[in-house]
Amino acid sequence: MKVLKELLMQKNIMFKVGLFIFFAWILIAILAPVLSPFDPINDQDIVRKFEAPSSEHWFGTDELGRDVFSRVLYASRVSITCGLITVLISLVVGVFFGGLAGYIGGVVDDVMMRFSEMIQSFPPLILAMVIAAALGPNISNSVLAMAIIWWPNYARLTRSIVISIKGNDYVTASRVLGATHTRILGKELLPNSVGSMVVMCTLDLGNAILMFSGLSFLGLGIQPPVPEWGAMVSEGVRNSAKWWISTFPGLAIFTVAIGANFIGDGLRDYLDPKMRRTIG
């Protein structure tokens, strides 16, 4: 709480804007059923397809005559959830893997890090495309594909932190005093890594949402009739004269991503000097 207060006290406008945008979207996601004037899936009316924005349909209607506004609101649920899950899985896998590699060290560390490098050298979108195309495009497969791509970043970060802790004088001292390795790690790792991890997570959340919508744009992510921003933009590409179909979902992706990035940037600016001091 104290940290949050300190954060908000800073003169960083962008951080506050980001926070505002992001929480606005989370609220929208939670309250989508209340806020949406229409049902995003079932209120089809072919006769009224491709209507331009009006007082009834704020963002116009799509090729099946559905309300674009309601669909944009509902789509936030899928995108934000999937972004969060992806980051969470990458975080858990990465921390475990990187922690282990850094802790054991030696040949094991070498092999494990080469493995993660291998994953990293893999073209992320191609990997995701192959996984989605092969296993069938759906929510869980695209989350899986993205998590596979992202965890090495966390592994590397955790590893470097673990190694720096291992070399720390204080740790050497406490080991001499008989503290067990696991205890040292548990006690030291968390406070040392939480800052940089949070920064990485928020920035990655924006990236994950972008990539996720990209996969859906290619038809490899979430499948209709579930509304999803990327898929909606691709519908707009097919009907480009109907600018409202692609413009609003595109703006939605953009704002969520920019919110996450603003927060990440702000946090980093705030944490950076401290991190340098502790990690060395």
């Binding site: 899936i41 499948q223 209709p224």
Partner: protein, 552 residues
């Protein structure tokens, strides 16, 4: 010192990278510089040289007529090659003589004898004789892994009795043989030239690589160059034996986005664009100097409902399948498909012998009837079913859009549809294994004769089964034997009027019970620059008829 070393290394790496890029073509660079300089010199000299640019997304993967089957394949094969018979302009597959002047068929219906023109020459200058025809057919007959093989396997043997007479012996009588002759499988290749580049009529052919970048035909154009996903250049054939048109170069340019195509047409960068659908064409309405045109296609989209009870006891019920046909909002699909769409009654499209459309005033959506049928079947309260939908489209209409409409339509009769979208490839695989209870599919004929439809859509399971008989486990029974009786008559009937009548009768019988629900037959929308052309003709086999193009 270390800095110097490292810098040197970096420079070396850059040089190596560039060298690697240029590798393989480096030997040609010099030659190309010259030829390029010549080209540009020529084009500035002859300001009158006419170039036409066509923009679209072709997905062409090969230009070897023996390997092609992609939708745009015959657009190119017709420009560069000749067949014995070709499709008459603007028709849905009506054959007319081309290299052949006429033919005779013996009483058994197995032996076709073709007389050839004696004035046809290949672009290379070699005369086209019967031995080239025989060689070309034998070449494809020995390429069993090719899609073109499906159309040519009806041929048992082919012989040249003299320089200008070819005799085909078929494995069984086939009223559609002439129509099959119009496809790329029967393109006549310059056998001498292709042999030089690895061609073989007895298996082990390796000419594909050469044929991908060159042509060895007698058509009005020759293939100058092809860069896949980029562009294809056709050059006027100086030795063309027929009446040449006034175009020197035709460039087909790959443009993946419809927006880019529309903009390019408006700006005059391209003269014809192919990637439109009814909705996107609206952007060009009323634009000065641009004509939007429609061509009929044989492409139809339909729902497939398996008869396999193991997949879904509910959906496999013929009564439920009938109910689905009555529950579909055909007017809605017509609105989705746009102008030029029709609803076929069933498996015979418009443009084929006796093709019928669904009469929406009497036979359209009827929810009461559909509900009654559901009750009869014992599912008045409905059931859950998965509709599999490939990420594909029919002439620009996305299947996912259709699926969502189906979902809503069927909700009216309490069928709760869950949509599952898969990559097209996976759907094809599952279709072949017949493991989906309910899915969207499209179909376009391999050759333009109703025999193609009967061979695909009639009941029949197993080795001798039909494509959709196997895919839906729709058995031949005494009840539907009438379908086969009629189809067998259609297959060999040569009098077109009688054939059309038989075909109509067949469709009426088919409508009584089948495992499919036909939704739409689609039109092809394209647009061209009317300052350049008076008219651009279209047929479903060749798409744009390049041979007929003539600039103002």
């Amino acid at each position: 010192m270390k800095r110097f070393l490292a810098l040197l290394l970096c420079v070396l790496m850059v040089v190596a990278l560039l060298a690697a890029c240029g590798d393989g073509t480096q030997g040609n660079v010099q030659g190309n510089v010259q030829s390029d300089a010549q080209d540009s010199g020529e084009s500035s000299d002859q300001a009158g040289s006419t170039t036409v640019v066509i923009g679209g997304q072709s997905d062409l993967v090969t230009l070897d007529p023996g390997n092609m089957y992609e939708p745009y394949a015959n657009m190119i094969s017709y420009a560069a090659y000749d067949m014995l018979y070709r499709v008459q302009t603007g028709t849905m597959g009506t054959p007319e003589p081309s290299v052949a002047t006429d033919y005779t068929v013996d009483d058994s219906g197995l032996v076709y004898t073709f007389k050839l023109r004696d004035d046809v020459v290949f672009a290379s200058g070699n005369p086209l004789t019967a031995k080239d025809v025989v060689w070309s057919v034998n070449r494809v007959l020995n390429m069993k892994e090719s899609n073109a093989y499906t159309l040519i396997k009806i041929v048992d043997k082919v012989e040249a009795t003299d320089d200008y007479t070819v005799v085909f012996t078929l494995t069984e009588p086939d009223a559609s043989f002439l129509v099959k002759l119009t496809s790329n499988a029967y393109c006549i290749l310059d056998s001498e030239l292709v042999k030089e580049h690895g061609g073989s009529d007895s298996g082990g052919d390796t000419a594909k690589e050469w044929l991908d970048n060159n042509s060895a035909g007698s058509g009005p154009y020759i293939i100058e160059s092809w860069t896949p996903q980029e562009q294809l250049v056709l050059q006027k054939n100086p030795n063309y034996w027929g009446e040449a048109k006034n175009i020197d170069t035709i460039i087909f340019r790959e443009m993946t986005s419809v927006d880019a195509q529309i903009t390019a047409l408006k700006n005059g960068d391209v003269d014809i664009i192919l990637g439109l659908n009814t909705e996107t064409a609206k952007q060009l309405e009323g634009v000065d100097g641009i004509t939007i045109a429609n061509g009929p296609t044989a492409l139809m989209t339909f729902l497939v409902m398996s008869r396999d009870e193991a997949l879904s006891p509910e959906m496999s019920n013929p009564k439920v399948q009938e109910a689905v046909r009555y529950a579909l909002d055909y007017e809605g699909y017509l609105a989705l498909g746009g102008e030029g769409c029709t609803v076929p009654l069933n498996f015979v499209q418009q443009g084929f012998s006796g093709g019928l459309t669904r009469d929406l005033s009497t036979d359209g959506r009827d929810l009461d009837k559909a509900k009654a049928l559901m009750e009869e079947a014992g599912y008045a309260d409905g059931f859950d079913i998965t509709l599999t939908c490939a990420s594909n489209n029919s002439e620009g209409l996305e299947w996912t859009t259709i699926a969502q409409k189906v979902q809503q339509d069927l909700a009216e009769i309490n069928i709760n549809v869950k949509i599952e979208t898969l990559e097209t490839t996976l759907v094809y695989e599952k279709m072949r294994d017949a493991t989906m209870p309910f899915y969207i599919m499209f179909w376009s004929p391999d050759y333009y004769d109703i025999n193609n439809q009967t061979a695909a859509f009639l009941p029949g399971v197993g080795e001798d089964g039909t494509a959709y008989g196997n895919r839906t486990k729709w058995e031949r029974t005494p009840d539907n034997e009438i379908l086969w009786e009629l189809a067998n008559q259609v297959q060999v009937e040569t009098d077109e009027a009688v054939r059309a009548q038989l075909s109509e009768q067949l469709q009426q019988e088919y409508a009584k019970d089948n495992p499919l629900a036909f939704i739409l037959q689609h039109p092809k929308t394209f647009a061209f620059n009317s300052n350049v052309f008076d008219n651009v003709t279209y047929n479903d086999l060749c798409k744009i008829e390049l041979c007929e193009l003539n600039v103002k």
